[in-house]
Homo-oligomer: 133 residues x 3
């Protein structure tokens, strides 16, 4: 199955954007049955992660604490001034592999898939590849 590309606009420097609905729509569109879905962000200052979607305090606690743990102004050498974003991208990873069963994502009750923006606002790409098996 060919790679699907999404464009996701972000609105803040650090932000978690729920992309679960886009992934579910895509699996329906292609008639997926059972296999693996790799979600990949082709950026070095963003990532892809899973966390809770019930209480918005969870993602704001995560992004707030990350900014304390890895402050933007930490005496970095990289001239663009976003080394903190590069570190967060590697820690969260730009790649996440999910289980597909019965034509849909198998996720836990409280799980949502997030594009993790660490150097926004921008329009980000998310690439998705389904492999049957």
């Amino acid at each position: 199955m060919s790679t699907k590309e999404f464009r996701i606009p972000t609105k803040a420097r650090t932000e978690f954007v729920d992309i679960t609905a886009e992934l579910l729509d895509h699996l329906r569109d292609i008639g997926a049955t059972s296999g693996l879905l790799t979600v990949f962000v082709p950026h070095t200052t963003a990532g892809v992660t899973i966390n809770e979607n019930a209480d918005p305090d969870v993602t704001s606690d995560i992004s707030g604490y990350l900014d304390k743990l890895i402050p933007r102004d930490s005496g970095f050498a990289h001239a663009e001034g976003n080394s903190d974003s590069h570190i967060k991208s590697s820690l969260f990873s730009p790649s996440l592999t999910l289980i597909v069963e019965g034509g849909t994502l198998r996720l836990g009750t409280w799980q949502a898939v997030y594009l993790a923006e660490f150097d926004g606002p921008r329009t980000r790409q998310v690439w998705v590849k389904y492999v049957e098996g």
Copy 2:
């Protein structure tokens, strides 16, 4: 191949439970040959990781230092009081993809696969999906 579900009880708030034997048994049961195995934790306060199984000091050093780096009481907003667990879950990732060859997992000499509990004790689920290739 359909998704296999395991139930893993944990005994402490932060704990690493070695699940390698369960994964190896499953690969034998389904007659796996060569492919990828995705191990997925359907929780937002736990993760799945690989680390050393020879010296138990390694996993206790990891969990102890994580608790120092991201203390439970960091002035979080989320009312359940476990935002630290949500952060650790995203940093460790709930998904890990492993190589299967010759009917078994290809792991390094010192590697074991761990369910990483960050908000126990609980009974956790681990979902496993094998794709041949």
Copy 3:
């Protein structure tokens, strides 16, 4: 497709070695078309990650800040004195799954794949498995 093994020498305790060219060569060698490529490091004090390859300050900022965040001498119990390396390995992950399309890796403009050495110098292994789909 059988697992390909690479040997990658590292030159410092913490170092990011760009292995993108090796991965691209391998995909050409095996005549890959479309699928997933899992890159796996069979070590517990190293990982695999993606980051920027344009400005070398980026990877040196990442490794320098990691050493500040998780110092080697943090009163760890593990007698080998490299618990910081084990923690970094779990945070970066030893496994990364990439999208293959049109016979090659689909990476963003600034992305390169790195072996992340956290306890070098050593000769490290990188295992690579391609699954078509």
